[in-house]
Symmetry: C2
Subunit: 223 residues, 2 copies
DNA sequence: ACCTGAACACCGTTCAAGT
DNA sequence: ACCTGAACACCGTTCAAGT
C-alpha cells in the first residue's frame, strides 16, 4: 500500500470502485477517504474525474440501470417484456440497494430517462393510446421507484441488525400483530401475510394490477 | 440570544422546531447546531429527549403523516375516500418534501403503518377480496411512496436552482426534447407532455389506474 | 494534464461537569 | 432529572505544490 498507481485513473475506474464499496458496506461506507485508499491515490485525483460525491453516486447508478434496460428482450410480446424489465429492475435494486435510494433522489438523471424510455416504449407497443400513455408510464415508473425505496430501506436495516431476512420479517410481523386490532384492523390482519409473502411475487402482482388497470381504462366504452 | 430557556424542553417542542427548520431550509439545514441555536439550549438537552438524528426525522415525519391519515373522511364512499386520502398524502409531501425522502427510508416506522392501515382499510371497504387485498395495498402504498420520493427530489433541485417550478420543468423538457428521437422515441415525445402536465392530476390518474386494475382483476371470471 | 495530501470548514455524538 | 458546551472522531471539498 501507499505505493503510487502506475496506470492512469479514469471516471470509469473510479465509478467501478465506488460501486464495489457501496455493495460491500452500504452507502455509509462510500467516503472519499475509503475511495483514495482503494485506488491508492489522492483526493484531487478523484475530483479531477468526478465533480463531487453526488455526481459519483449518480454515475454508479446510471451504470447499473443501463445494464438492465439495455438487456433487449427479443421476440417477447410487450406484456411479457414489461414484466421482464420490471423484474430486472427489481432484482438489480435488490442486489444493489444504494441504487434504489439514489433513484428516488435524482430523477432527472440518465438512469431514470432509460427507465422511462423502456417502460413507456413497451406500453406504447402494448397499444396504450397516446392520451393515456404518459400518465400510465408515470404511474408505473413511480411504482417501481416506490418499491426501490422500500428495498433500499430494508437492506439498510438488515445491514445494521445482523439478523437475516426472515428474522427481520418475523420481527416486523410480530410488531404489527401486537397492534390494537380495534385501532389497526388491517395492519393487524396483514401481519400474517407479511411474514409469509414473497417480495418478488408481490412486486409482480403490483405490475399486473397496473397493466390490468391500463387495459380496463382505455378499453371501456362507457364512463 | 445565549440566554437560558426558562420553560422545560420536551420531545414535542424539539420535533416541532426540527420540522420548522426542515420546512425553511430543507434537509441539509437540520443540524444539531441549528437546533440548539433555535431552542437556546445545548446538545445534551436534545439528546436527552431524542435518541439521535434519525429518530428526530422519523418523529417529525410521523407527526405530519398522522395529521393526514387521521383526517376522517366522513360519509364518503370508499373509492372517493381513497382518492381523498391519496391526494392528502400527495399535498402533505408536496408541502414538506423532507417527509417524502424520509418515507422512502424507514418504512417500518409508525408513519407507514398509518398509511397502510388507512389505504388497506379503504380497499377492504371497497370490496377487494382478502386474497388480493395485501398485494393491492402494497402496490398502492408503493406507488404513493414513489411519487413522494420524486416530489422530494424535485423540491431539492428547485431549492438549489433558484428558478421556479415552470422554469425547471421547461429545462428538463428541453433536455428530453434534445435527445435523439431514434434512440429515445418515447422520452423525446414525452417532453411536450412534461412541460404541460399537472403533477396532482397525473398522481390522481395513477391512483385511478390502480383502482381500475384492482376492480378488473378481482371481478373477471376467466383467466 | 494529472496527481498528492495537508488543511479547512463543517458534521453527529459523547460526557464530565454543573444546577 | 435535566441541562451545558468543550471535545472527539469523523465528513466532503479545496488548493498549493509536485511530476
Amino acid at each position: 500500500m501507499a505505493k503510487r498507481r502506475t496506470d492512469g485513473l479514469s471516471k470509469e475506474v473510479i465509478v467501478q470502485a465506488a460501486a464495489a464499496i457501496l455493495d460491500d458496506g452500504g452507502e455509509a461506507a462510500l467516503t472519499f477517504r475509503a475511495l483514495t485508499a482503494r485506488l491508492s491515490t489522492g483526493y484531487g485525483a478523484i475530483y479531477h474525474h468526478v465533480a463531487n460525491k453526488s455526481d459519483l453516486l449518480a454515475a454508479a447508478t446510471d451504470a447499473v440501470i443501463t445494464r438492465v434496460t439495455s438487456n433487449a428482450v427479443v421476440d417477447a410480446e410487450p406484456r411479457e417484456a414489461l414484466r421482464t424489465v420490471s423484474l430486472g429492475l427489481f432484482d438489480a435494486i435488490d442486489a444493489h440497494p444504494w441504487v434504489g435510494a439514489q433513484l428516488s433522489r435524482e430523477p432527472w438523471r440518465p438512469a431514470l430517462v432509460e427507465i422511462y424510455e423502456r417502460i413507456g416504449g413497451l406500453l406504447e407497443a402494448l397499444g396504450v393510446p397516446e392520451r393515456a400513455l404518459f400518465d400510465a408510464a408515470g404511474a408505473l415508473v413511480n411504482y417501481v421507484l416506490g418499491v426501490a425505496g422500500q428495498n433500499a430501506a430494508n437492506a439498510r436495516l438488515l445491514a445494521v441488525d445482523q439478523g437475516d431476512r426472515s428474522a427481520f420479517l418475523a420481527g416486523v410481523s410480530a410488531q404489527w400483530a401486537s397492534l390494537d386490532p380495534a385501532r389497526y384492523p388491517f395492519v393487524h390482519k396483514a401481519a400474517t401475510h407479511l411474514r409469509e409473502h414473497d417480495d418478488r411475487e408481490q412486486f409482480l402482482a403490483g405490475v399486473d394490477i397496473f397493466l390490468a388497470g391500463i387495459a380496463a381504462l382505455h378499453q371501456r366504452r362507457t364512463s
